[in-house]
Symmetry: C2
Subunit: 312 residues, 2 copies
């Protein structure tokens, strides 16, 4: 398993954390972004209340809010007010949630269970799930466009442009298409390309949102983006590892699905040990990409090895 | 039928047209916006090419591009460059197209035919149709956010905010939910409320886009919005009239569907003559709402009675 190596790496990697309790930091950030989501998502009202109810059902499902966490801490590096970055985190989480709702549909992954609860089309119906997804995607841009997100319209429109790109046909949606058409012939590069689009693009947006909000230099934007790219691979590998090593009880969703569906992942291609080694390599690369910001943002530099440890 | 009355009204209403050939003006506008859509929509490329192909299939289906026509002419009133308004029209058409793709899905209206062609989920598959719709919605905001749409970020973000509102859970999507849950008990006010959301909101955006692009006074924005509201009712009634009086050959889609599904429309509630009378009243109200702009924009003032005449 190379587990002893990993332990050493983790110890080293954790040095810059300087006593930071990362699970607690993630929890705090999740609570803060949930409070914003509570405000910005509509309350069920009128005859269209059913879709607004479904938007909330899908969103408030006990997620770790990892993407808003990345927005928050990439933004703090550049002196951005939490009130602004949390709204961007809320917009991103709305968009991420829409993608889960649509991915779970019978015509896509056909999942009945997510985070231990019935998926939206099971709890409501398929039509409501399609429309709630559409509405969550739309409200993401509405949140970004609101002047409460940032006083400078140029900053807000830069966020809109970047999120539309990250979530679009050459970003997350493109990745989803490739995933759906993926065959057993997929090699390592194909899988990395697929995942860089499907899950990586939103991580890249999350980490770039900080420098965008803080009007930081292009170089800083590149640094955070490079961090996100490597961290995204770590996230995906650990997600795929959980699919083979964990239980449905812990993850709250069906496990062993990738292998059942003959879907290539880095775990099926490299084996558990090989995939874990690749993830460790990527975790180091992520921290290195942060450069001087690794020490300034232990929440960011601590995350990759924290993900490697996760059990759910 | 009150047909002679209508003829008199039309003659009066057409006076300000001053020789304008409205069908030709609509055709010209459609060609211009199609050229922009050709540029801004992605060309199928790479393994995600299938969804980009579906985006184009759904978009280039020979529509009249009525919403971009409204953007173009509401913008000309305020001295806006056509290059800017046509991009807003293209964004709006992308969003409108996504709504048609998702509405046609088996879990919604379950339509196999639109504009005489197989709907997107028939021509491709359901998964591709869901994702192509998502991508069209996303690209709409990407187009608006691009600086080519307007040099001023404040104008671009105002367009994003307004489109997200018009297309969101309290706008078009809200209307779609109400429509899906509509019962035979629906009265005239229920139907008008439903349609004001489902189809009306995008017309309102189209007509407000001009004053937004032109940094016009709030009063002008109100005028154009009031015009759009009345014109939207005319559009919807004539659409519903076509459903009972036309043939599938002319409209390119299944007809008689509303009655078959027990769906209340102003035509089922007021009868053909009553609905037509209501539409005429609304057509006059639309022109009146334009005030001084009725004479300056014969394309806008001529449209309501043109719609009343349409056969497809």
């Amino acid at each position: 398993m190379g587990h002893s190596d990993m332990t050493i790496d983790q110890t080293k990697a954790r040095e810059p954390l300087a006593g930071l309790d990362l699970p607690q930091a993630i929890n705090q950030s999740a609570k803060a972004v949930d409070a914003v989501l509570e405000q910005v998502l509509p309350s069920p009202q009128g005859p269209q209340g059913r879709v607004q109810e479904a938007m909330r059902y899908a969103t408030f499902a006990g997620g770790k809010r990892l993407r808003p966490f990345l927005v928050l801490h990439s933004a703090r590096l550049f002196g951005v007010d939490d009130a602004h970055s949390l709204r961007v985190g809320a917009a991103l989480e709305a968009l991420h949630t829409y993608s889960l709702v649509h991915d779970d549909l019978p015509c896509m992954d056909d999942d009945d269970l997510r985070r231990g609860r019935p998926t939206t089309h099971i709890a409501f119906d398929e039509m409501t799930a399609v429309l709630a997804g559409d509405a969550l995607l739309t409200v993401a841009f509405e949140i970004l466009a609101d002047e409460k997100t940032h006083p400078d319209p140029a900053v807000r429109i830069a966020l809109v442009a970047r999120l539309a790109e990250a979530g679009g046909h050459d970003g997350m949606i493109g990745g989803q298409v490739i995933d759906m058409l993926a065959t057993e012939k997929f090699g390592v590069d194909d899988v990395i390309n697929l995942q860089r689009l499907k899950t990586g693009q939103l991580f890249e947006f999350a980490c770039e949102a900080g420098p965008i909000l803080g009007n930081a230099a292009a170089e800083d934007r590149q640094r955070l983006r490079a961090y996100a790219r490597e961290m995204g691979v770590v996230f995906q590998i650990t997600d795929d590892l959980l699919d083979v090593t964990s239980t449905a009880e812990k993850t709250g969703k069906a496990v062993g699905k990738d292998a059942d569906m003959g879907k290539a992942t880095l775990v099926t291609l490299l084996g558990v040990d090989g995939a874990r080694a690749e993830a460790e390599k990527r975790a180091h690369a992520a921290i290195a990409a942060l450069g001087p910001y690794a020490a300034k943002a232990p929440e960011l530099s601590g995350l990759p090895f924290f993900l490697l440890d996760r059990e759910a």
